[in-house]
Point group: C2
């Protein structure tokens, strides 16, 4: 721990731990939180003294800007415990920088690296009993920032709250995933906030996703809002398409989140001599590939599920099911990536960082 002022995190310990009440074998993603959270307020133009304290509800004014104008951003990352009880983070610098990019786009203050990283590390250390060992067990980490300043006039807040929550998670298995290709609704505008992890981007997807669910599809793959011809990403995942033996994925843009899993899979695939092409992928190519059999796999890539194989897609009311095959690049890459994350394979990229 360095000696600067902001590093002096005040720690208020919970009187008792809730850990005994937790059934770690039956966790629902994102529902259980550890005993403590990290908090740092921004007011009078600067970040105040950070604190780690018991997880608990907090007071907000009814006119807080987060409620009225949606100034809110977040990150999603994971920590892993290896067989020697060491705790590891996966490319935390990527999440840190993306968080501050999101902050800038939403006219919020950047969080200093020391507050973000020291807060995260000390919180993980304090609640380390909650991090379970073994592949598939992870600690999901949710840094977020909200506008706490008051007033029902649409301008940026003067006050903000940055927090980190920890939620133990099992391997995220969501069953067989069929997706709907978006033909009318969209996730992001050109010149909009699609590339930011801004809260409002997610609620915007709930209604069209509900419609897709009702039609029997678990997720929507969004397309560009102007022409609906280019495949972009899913709700909380970037997407990859395997045509013959090449993986395709859209370039990130103003409309598409620059996913850490996506970029890691690209590097991993290259290392494994799998051909990867980053270029716009057209809906028509997908349909064509499904018809002529060259489309072998589709999968989502994101922190929560790591890799999420997709078994079929619907477009213009036609459902296309992918061929079942023994060899899956998706599962091969998932295995390699989770092995690195859990320190079960050599990390040739230097992605893992010890807490």
């Amino acid at each position: 721990m360095s000696a600067t002022q902001t590093n002096k995190i005040e720690i208020i310990k919970a009187a008792t731990s809730k850990i005994k009440d937790v059934d770690f074998d039956n966790l629902h993603f994102g529902e259980v939180f550890t005993d403590h959270l990290f908090e740092c307020d921004f007011t009078n133009g600067e970040w105040q003294k950070p604190v780690i304290k018991p997880y608990a509800p907090f007071l907000l004014d009814p006119s807080a800007k987060v409620f009225h104008y949606g100034q809110a951003i977040f990150e999603g990352m994971k920590a892993y415990k290896d067989d020697n009880d060491a705790i590891w983070l996966f490319r935390p610098d990527e999440n840190y920088h993306r968080f501050n990019n999101s902050a800038t786009r939403m006219a919020m203050p950047e969080v200093p690296e020391e507050i973000f990283m020291e807060g995260l590390k000390q919180l993980l250390q304090l609640d380390e009993a909650w991090i379970q060992k073994g592949k598939g067990n992870t600690m999901y980490i949710r840094p977020f920032m909200i506008a706490t300043g008051t007033g029902v006039i649409a301008n940026p807040s003067d006050d903000y709250k940055f927090m980190i929550l920890l939620s133990p998670a099992k391997a995220y298995y969501s069953g067989e995933v069929k997706v709907l290709i978006a033909e009318h609704f969209s996730r992001a505008a050109n010149g909009g906030i699609g590339a930011a992890k801004a809260a409002g981007n997610y609620a915007a997807q709930f209604y069209p996703t509900n419609l897709a669910n009702k039609a029997g599809f678990q997720q929507v793959i969004w397309t560009d809002d102007a022409t609906h011809t280019k495949l972009e990403e899913a709700g909380t995942m970037n997407v990859f398409f395997r045509i013959n033996d090449t993986l395709y994925t859209a370039p990130t843009s103003e409309r598409i989140l620059d996913g850490v899993t996506r970029k890691s899979l690209i590097d991993l695939a290259k290392r494994e001599n799998i051909n990867v092409e980053v270029r716009p992928v057209l809906v028509s190519e997908l349909v064509e590939g499904a018809k002529n059999g060259s489309l072998k796999e589709i999968f989502g890539a994101g922190t929560a599920a790591v890799v999420n194989p997709i078994i079929g897609f619907s477009y213009q009311d036609v459902y296309y099911e992918l061929p079942k095959s023994e060899s899956s690049i998706a599962l091969e890459l998932k295995d390699k990536l989770t092995n690195i994350q859990h320190k079960l394979a050599e990390d040739t990229f230097g992605w893992t960082v010890k807490v």
Copy 2:
């Protein structure tokens, strides 16, 4: 008051009133709130007992979905006190219906009319001393709904809180307004949530608006995100353009909020035999009109400012100043509309509703 169950609003009065501390001549928009607020929670699939209680901060869980996924909507409306101390609302049914349209788009439950309207009326009655008489004095009303359910997984909340806040307001005068025509940033996507009063739409505009402010422009006029050739609306106002003696305004769409002021001004202009055309207005027409002198006025229309004259605009780094003229359709319509709202002119449309 009707006799149904939901109508029985519990009323908890504030021990003392803050009204003596308020300088009604120097109000900043949206900063001062009355003694009470209205609140109704949605849980277990239904709306619970509504309550009017002292304005105060409230507790929320750090994992509340409003913080992480931006499920939050609002409305903006006004109440007026006439010379006989009667309180009037302006087209409240329009706000009520738009609120529920926003709710549907954001996968939130609709608020029953009785809860919305009775809550609003009883709150206004309880805090009626806060509503000042005289043209220019209004009570700004902020109904809003947030997702209070917990969990850091991106899906709709099970629990919601609906609230109404009251904020006394003076005539909204924002000085001379120069606007920037958006060439890169955008407010809304095709198939997105631009037509909803969703919180996230507003934070998305703060950063580009900050950039405009720094360049000397108070507001941005948004253009369509795909081509940036069509004029859409401003941050919290629809926009009208007067070319010669005709008013033009864009049709509302998925990308543009269906403003109550806009539609009222259209009706009012028609009654006054002013020519109004609702059709897409191109940036090129605006530039052309500014160059050949046919562009006479630009103004914003919204509840807060009613009508906001714009004195000039910048596009592609060229600033076009509008001619100064004695006759302003903007100010003429503003006067007629505010007279109706304040019960100083006959309401031939049946827009005003007594509380």
